[in-house]
Amino acid sequence: MPRFLQGGPWVLTAGAVVLVAAAMTLAPQLFTQRDPNAIAFLERLQAPSLSHPLGTDENGRDIWARVVHGARPTLTAALSLIGLSLVAGSLAGLVIGASGRRSDEILMRVTEFFLAFPQIIWALAITSAMGRGLVNCVLALALTWWAQYARLMRGQVLAVRQREFVAAARALGQREWWILLWHVLPNCVSPVLVKSTIDVSLAILLLAALSFLGVGAQPPLPEWGAMVTIGRKYLLDYPWYATFPGLAIFVVVLALNILGERLRDVLDPTSRSPARS
């Protein structure tokens, strides 16, 4: 077993949850035979039972099937948001960290500007102008999110460039850009990776919140946040509707957070929270 997973039962359980969520994303048919969008008005708003383990919604659609199929839009949106920000931000950070003092100063002000953007309000503004939908939400958030990675990466690059092996590579006559890509970059990635695992869970919560506000995923797409929104109308009489999609968000986010904390302990002991040092 990799050292990463040797963190006790919680870490193992979290790993299992993430695996199941990944499987649901890749092959939802494994978990349910039902069509998440099959409408059956005769069976609307039924309580959980053997044939519908999580009950049915206002159109008689099976909530378990919708939760299973909801993994794909929910998780791919979060992953692409973090992926986009991670790549764009790291490259920007690499360039900022490698550039001179003057341009460093200017570029840092630029990232500060993006960091100060209130994310939810910005996403609401973008979606009101460009149209609602998960893709626009992801783009709107990525437009501000990259700056966090850029700053982290820049700090790493500045620190790593002082190390002896970089001086050695320079003394060997290697080119500056080659040193950056081959020697500096690989030594900068672990805190960035740690941040990105924890950020995926933040991204799920934020995108679900936007779907809950009605500007993210649009019906009939089975996205977890959007399902909670519709379920809210039926909350008091049909409580299972809003409960289970929200529970799915909670479980996956919790699992990702546990893994993220564990990954931080293994990869990046320096930034460990003072509670455990």
Binding site: F113, A116, F117, I121, W122, A125, I126, S128, A129, M130, S201, L205, A208, A209, F212, G225, V228, G231, R232, L235, L236, P239, A242, T243, G246, L247, I249, F250, V253, L254, N257, I258, E261, S273, P274, A275, R276
Partner: protein, 269 residues
Amino acid sequence: MTLILRRLPLLVVLLGAISAAVFALTQALPGDPAFIAAGGGDATPEMIAHARARLGLDRPLWVQYALYMRNAVTGDFGRSLVNRKPVLDDLRTFWPASAELALAAITISGVIGIPLGVLSAVRAGRWLDRLITPGSVFLGSMPIFWLGLMAVLVFYRVLDLLPAGGRLTIGLTPPSAVTGLLLIDALLAGNLVVFIDALRHLILPACILSLISLAMITRVTRAAMLDILHEDYLRTARAKGLSETRVVLKHALRNASVPIVTVVGIQLG
């Protein structure tokens, strides 16, 4: 103070940039607002031209933007496309409720978070301290909008302890608006019935909302206290024979209060 003055221009630039970005996006959109304003479908070209002139859409782009900014700065936010009321009126109606909720939430998270942070710093490594990190990860993993629904489900439907929503029970006359904050207005009017009713409506959303900042405030308090607890002047205070509570609360907490006040302020926003 100078810091605030230095930050203000940045804020103005930021607001300007967001408004410009949104303005540019609405321009880039397909669809003609004048066509919609003229009634859509069977509007004649004359009607559309008239609507365009009325809305000022026939002027150059930068003039439109300047007008939009001038109106916004003077407090004219236009009319809502949904209910046709001036947006400012809507803001006036709903702002006190939001302010009351935010203030209540930050009060709760401060009142719980600061003592919790102090305790876990004083007893670093003991059970309370070791619960705080997992606890904040656990709570932080819940989608807040879902947690709110679940709380309504439990406290209203299952336990029937608290109302499900709104600010006052229908039928109660709200106190005359002095501050707009129901709790304070009710107290000023000496109306205890309304006060308790408003409190019962406020407590659940405020508690849920306070969870967002609770973890943050606890962690910052703990870190600030840990930094200070080993200082020499605390040893001096102890050597003077002051009780441990007094040392912690008067000498340590007061000196740790700068980051704590900062984070409470940030969380309020």
